[in-house]
């Protein structure tokens, strides 16, 4: 087993009911994981519990196979060897950049320490700013100092709490990419918390979607987008709409846009009614199509245009079309559906969490 972080059926919270319920996840060496969810969903609490600032009320947390919070065992934050990057960076204002970075390496010999600080500062591109004080740096530079400081003692795992939320949008995009390559370059294992999808997609190998203290689905970005485990995930990740449908067999459904065929993500049986997920890129512009729609709204986005289209049934779909296909509001647009994965949520099936449903699906498949 190469598991660095293992969280099993974690529960955190007292009194007014748990903030985090029945949460399990696993990160192997060198992987970057991400907890994604709206504010207040409990994702930061998970991070703080792993760091040791909160105590689990149930379940188990192990770092490198060693249990750090389980029943009676509790290892305090300062002995867990986790590196943490806070939303506000929390740089020590009275220390220089160099002193900040070497703060956590007191037990190393001086020469190793100096050497390591130098390498890290070069790696984050701040080699010349070692003697500056935090208030003299820009937001992006402060962020990289915080990252170098957290990486310096070679922690078991790097924890990042909304690390990009204090930066402006343009800086954020380039920095997300840069931070990912720095972390990958050191081979560190990391867990990130964010409410921003594009950040999660750009940073993480595996992403968990959280809502109301529960983990709805854990997997790579592609799975979350194309194989959402439940409606909540489908709605939270990316854009898309749902169409009423009735299953014809295990891979075809009939909708107001005709029969749609694809590899089923969730099992369907002939005659079952439900909702099928249509992503904007699943709708292809086709003047010869028998299905004509009305453009109710449009957002021009440079390379493409996002159209809001009304079907004869009154249902609405979105379509992402290259921007040379210019149709005015109120105009007609012929479309057809072209998709690979068929995501259908059958009506009246119990609304359990996605993870469990996936497990069920796996069992059915085995049977």
């Amino acid at each position: 087993m190469n598991s660095v972080l293992d969280v099993k059926t974690l529960e955190v919270g007292y009194g007014n009911g748990p903030v985090v319920k029945d949460l399990s996840l696993n990160l192997s060496r060198g992987a970057i994981g991400c907890l994604l969810g709206p504010s207040g969903c409990g994702k930061t609490t998970v991070l703080r519990t792993i760091a040791g600032f909160e105590r689990a009320s149930g379940g188990k947390i192990s770092l490198h196979g060693k249990s750090v919070d389980h029943n009676g065992t509790y290892i305090p934050a300062e002995k867990r060897r986790t590196g943490m990057v806070f939303q506000d960076y929390a740089l020590f204002p009275h220390l220089t950049v160099r002193e900040n970075v070497s703060f956590g390496m007191r037990n190393l010999p001086a020469r190793t320490r100096t050497e390591r600080v130098r390498t890290l500062l070069d790696k984050v591109g701040l080699g010349k700013l070692g003697d500056s004080y935090p208030h003299e740096l820009s937001g992006g530079q402060q962020q990289r100092v915080a990252l170098a400081r957290a990486l310096a003692p070679q922690p078991e795992i790097l924890l990042l709490d909304e690390p990009f939320s204090n930066l402006d949008v343009t800086l954020r995009e380039s920095l997300v990419h840069e931070v990912r390559s720095i972390i990958k370059g050191t081979g560190a294992t990391a867990l990130l918390v964010t409410h921003n999808q594009s950040e999660a997609f750009a940073m993480a190998d595996e992403i968990g979607v959280m809502s109301a203290g529960r983990l709805l689905q854990w997997g790579p970005a592609r799975d979350l987008y194309h194989r959402p485990a439940c409606r909540e995930v489908a709605e939270f990740i990316g854009k898309g709409t749902f169409l009423e449908c009735e299953a014809l067999d295990d891979s075809r459904v009939r909708t107001s846009l005709g029969v749609i065929e694809g590899a089923p993500v969730h099992p369907i049986k002939r005659g079952e009614r439900g909702m099928v997920l249509i992503r904007p890129e699943d709708i292809v512009h086709d003047d010869h199509s028998p299905f004509k729609t009305v453009v109710t709204d449009r957002i021009y986005r440079g390379p493409n245009i996002l159209y809001f289209l009304r079907l004869d049934s009154g249902e609405e779909v979105l379509s992402l079309v290259p921007s040379h296909h210019d149709h005015p509001e109120g105009g007609k647009l012929g479309i057809r559906v072209e998709l690979e994965e068929l995501v259908v949520f059958v009506k009246n099936r119990s609304q359990e969490t996605g993870v469990r449903r996936q497990e069920e699906a796996a069992k059915t498949a085995v049977a």
């Binding site: 760091a51 600032f53 300062e78 002995k79 939303q87 960076y89 929390a90 020590f92 703060f103 956590g104």
Partner: protein, 547 residues
């Protein structure tokens, strides 16, 4: 939310906070319990002859000073914050210098300047003009106090104007208002909570003042308390007067706290730049410069010049062993008071940090209320319980046949306790704001990096709090050095300070001889003013670095 771990650990901080709060509560409770006792003969006499006059005098003075400081403070704040004229930069901090002047120093210097033998009288006579009216009037008193206290209003109004003055004016003018209209309908109402906050601080100072009013022989509650105690030897009458005065003071305090809660800076687009200022020209420019210099001259330059002249002429006879002994006492008391206040502030601030909710918060609030209580009231408040304690001790001693002697009344510890109650808020604020710089995430980062216990304290807390504790220490040191009524009324027999010396000399009209101790106090008073300007400049440059 899940509480952080350390909040659930039992600790001794609550006990310490409770002790500090009790220290503030005891004098107040003593005064209150004494006030509700049936009134004795002295108070009956006082009530019939003086009470109405005391109330009217106090209200007239407080009202007059409030109006005049508002006019001076707001106008100067507007000129230096929003307009541009030659010398604005220098004047904007020179105008803070009157803060270094204790009111009683300005009061006796003012009387000296206006005396028959004084320079102004002679100047008027030489010009063939009529002699000035008697300066010992309510108008003279209002003028002196206002010149001394306007910086409170000036500072508060200035920070309000600086943060939102120009932007709000531009918005108003883009909606078609003339500059004058925009000032009165937008900028002034916006800054109202700040101005009101400054004025309430002024009112508290006026209610607490003892030195200046006694130099002017202007009867207010503070002088009446002193006379009741040291003239009629009635601690009970002094306590009853103190009870009434504390009601006034606490009303001012509550008003101040209510307006303080309304102070919310609204970000008005980008920061103000110097180039955005209204450039004054022609007559306006000259008027602005002359006006600012006139206030500065009247409140600081002229009186300091007069003091220096007196000081030089009396230096040879005044700079003696007596002066040095007074100076040593003053410094010693100041240092002891500062050390005590800083330790208490540190403990309270840390207690408040550990307890985000619950009783400790309230205890901290109560402990810092003492700054609203006038020194005369506090002096009475600490003497009543310590005299009571001594009486109990004496009766025990008498029962046992031991020699009688007061054990704590009139000792330095009681004095220091009174200082602490009075100045705890002065020391608490800088320490507490430094404590807030150690954010929870800084604390937690240090712990993920392996620091804890004493190491955490040494590597993070001590360096980050050092500046705040130093500031607190200096502010309290200087405040204790200038303090007059508590020192005068609770000092051990024979212990004189510079302020006590000034009181004694000025009550005999010996302005010249009071000049040396006064200059000493003004010089020490300059230190906190320098700190204040340095910090406001630092916060400005830090904000620039953030951009």
């Amino acid at each position: 939310m899940n509480l952080p771990l350390r909040l659930r650990r039992p600790d001794g901080w609550t006990v310490t906070a409770l002790a500090a709060a009790a220290l503030v509560a005891v004098p107040i409770a003593a005064i209150l319990s004494e006030s509700v006792k049936p009134s004795g003969e002295v108070l009956g006499h006082l009530a019939s002859t003086m009470m109405v006059r005391l109330v009217l005098n106090t209200l007239a003075l407080a009202g007059g000073v409030a109006v005049l400081t508002t006019i001076i403070g707001v106008s100067l704040a507007w000129l230096t914050a929003v307009c541009e004229f030659p010398g604005r930069r220098v004047l904007s901090w020179l105008l803070l210098l009157p803060m270094a002047m204790p009111a009683y120093v300005l009061a006796f210097t003012f009387l000296g300047l206006m005396d028959f033998s004084g320079p102004i009288y002679r100047l008027l006579q030489a010009a063939g003009l009529p002699a000035p009216a008697d300066p010992r009037s309510v108008w003279g008193m209002i003028l002196v106090m206002s010149l001394c206290l306007y910086p409170y209003v000036y500072l508060m109004a200035r920070s309000a104007f600086l943060s939102m003055g120009i932007r709000s004016m531009e918005a108003a003018r883009s909606l078609g208002l003339s500059p004058v209209k925009a000032f009165f309908s937008v900028a002034l109402p916006m800054a109202r909570p700040w101005i009101a906050g400054g004025v309430m601080l002024v009112v508290m100072e006026v209610l607490a003042d003892f030195g200046a009013v006694s130099i002017f022989n202007y009867d207010t509650f503070t002088t009446a308390i002193y006379k009741a105690w040291f003239g009629f030897f009635s601690l009970s009458a002094a306590a009853k007067l103190s009870g009434i005065l504390s009601v006034f003071a606490l009303t001012a305090l509550l008003t101040e706290q209510r307006v303080r809660s309304k102070m919310r800076f609204t970000a008005m687009g980008r920061d103000q730049r110097d180039s955005d200022r209204f450039v004054l020209s022609g007559a306006w420019k000259v008027t602005a410069v002359v006006y600012a210099i006139f206030i500065l001259a009247a409140a600081f330059l002229l009186p300091v010049g007069q003091l220096l002249v007196w000081c030089v002429s009396s230096f040879a006879s005044e700079f003696d062993k007596g002066y040095l002994a007074d100076l040593r006492n003053t410094l010693l008391l100041g240092a002891l008071g500062a050390a005590l206040v800083c330790s208490a502030a540190l403990v309270l601030s840390y207690a408040a940090r550990l307890h985000k909710r619950g009783p400790v918060r309230h205890l901290v609030r109560i402990s810092t209320l003492g700054y609203a209580l006038p020194g005369t009231v506090l002096a009475v408040g600490v003497v009543i319980p310590s005299a009571g304690f001594d009486n109990i001790l004496a009766s025990i001693a008498g029962f046992l046949g031991l020699p009688l002697a007061p054990a704590i009344q009139g000792t330095v510890p009681v004095m220091l306790a009174a200082y602490m109650v009075r100045f705890l808020a002065v020391g608490f604020n800088p320490v507490d704001s430094a404590m807030h710089r150690v954010t929870r995430s800084i604390d937690e980062t240090a712990r993920t990096l392996g620091s804890r216990g004493l190491g955490l304290l040494r590597r993070i807390y001590v360096p980050l709090l050092r500046g705040g504790i130093m500031t607190a220490g200096i502010l309290v040191l200087v405040d204790v050095m200038k303090e007059m009524p508590i020192t005068l009324m609770t000092r051990p027999f024979g212990v004189d300070t510079l302020a006590v010396k000034i009181f004694e000399l000025t009550s005999e009209g010996e302005w010249h001889r009071a000049a040396l101790p006064a200059v000493t106090l003004v010089l020490t008073g300059l230190i906190p003013v320098a700190l204040l300007t340095r910090f406001s400049e630092m916060s400005l440059s830090r904000r620039k670095a953030d951009e």
